[in-house]
Symmetry: C3
């Protein structure tokens, strides 16, 4: 029986390691889904990446809270004009720290826009992003995403210090 | 014996989860190999990412089908001039959906070019990409990659709606 | 006993596959940590990504060797001016080849800078990067990172041919 117990323990330990890998990949996939959702105007697909009362904070421009506000941002005139002129929300693969059913992450988001006259793109915004995800009944979702333009001010550096100081 | 069977089942279930993770990482690696292959002019390495009759569709410019055409694109005058003037094909980590021996994905590709006089780069193209991969005797390869410039037209949004509507 | 041995072997084989996945994700995480560290001016967090005598080579500009020099680069006047004017070091997810306790990788790094007058960003540098990592007592760290601007010269293409020729 002791040998069986050893095997059982080995399988459980391995399963725990596999779960961490699944979590890390799942969180990267949430980030990879954001751009295609908003750039195709798929407001529901974008909103569902957040928890019911999840927050998307883009200071000093706006704070959107919950599915309706986030979907409303995608459906709104500003965003619709953006994507019909040609726009890309390009996010990089995040650094991720998983802690049970919560996780934090950091990455870059580029807001790139098409200039039809010049036939080239220009970069309107490159932001430092921090993410807080939670695993609930719907799986991993965004609790809070903060997006700060890397314009030389201290706030985006403070966002990224979170990554530097995390384990 | 029943306990042994339980352990065997637990190992098989774990192996299936590990295989999904291996697949997701392998597909991300195909995407990560494309840029370095074409930007170094390594035509065979680029072509081998596709199946024998795989398709690389860049409407309205071109459709390349099969290894010879894809390698020919890399060896061709247009691409050679591009990389000798300074160019980068920067692809983002894809959203991936694996379904057995087939998989689909979506990501961005930036076509960036060096301007030697201004000593800076400019962005010629930011595209919505969809990928269909298949696992065969050679492992995962690209069956079809579609690349649509995000210039405000509906086609690239339709490409990305595939991501929004996928499970 | 033979059946127990079979299960033990199956678990060991699975554990080896899980370890490869852990390695690949860990190496991607090192890359994902670099940008937030340097763009927040977190010199120690950046330096610790390298081994004690690790090398960061950015020809023809500079070669930094070891923690003190790498941290010194981040704390130096040039880098500090860069991030206080607004800058982003945006790295893509790497292609990775793990070989025991050593690994190699290739990716892109974009050096993007804020232009406060034009209220847009411009791209100063897009480089071909090669990485050599080693796993030691501190886990995976960078032994050597080479960064070559994709300005049309042969050297960055040679860097990326390493990716094309790797297994």
């Amino acid at each position: 029986m002791s040998e069986l117990d050893d095997l059982r323990t080995a399988i459980e330990e391995l399963a725990a390691r596999v779960r961490v890998l699944e979590d890390e990949l799942a969180l990267g996939q949430i980030v990879a889904r954001y751009g295609p959702a908003v750039d195709s105007g798929s407001s529901e697909a974008a909103a569902r990446l957040w928890t019911d009362d999840g927050v998307f904070e883009v200071p000093p421009y706006a704070v959107w809270t919950g599915h309706d506000e986030i979907a409303g941002m995608v459906e709104g005139e500003g965003h619709q004009e953006l994507i019909h002129n040609g726009a890309a929300h390009v996010l990089t693969a995040p650094r991720v720290v998983v802690d049970g059913d919560d996780a934090r992450g950091w990455n870059y988001a580029l807001n790139i826009r098409w200039d039809a006259e010049q036939e080239r793109f220009w970069i309107a915004r490159v932001s430092a992003n921090s993410w807080h995800w939670h695993r609930g009944a719907e799986g991993w979702q965004i609790v809070e995403r903060v997006n700060r333009n890397l314009d030389g001010s201290d706030e985006p550096r403070a966002v990224f210090r979170g990554s530097a100081e995390a384990p």
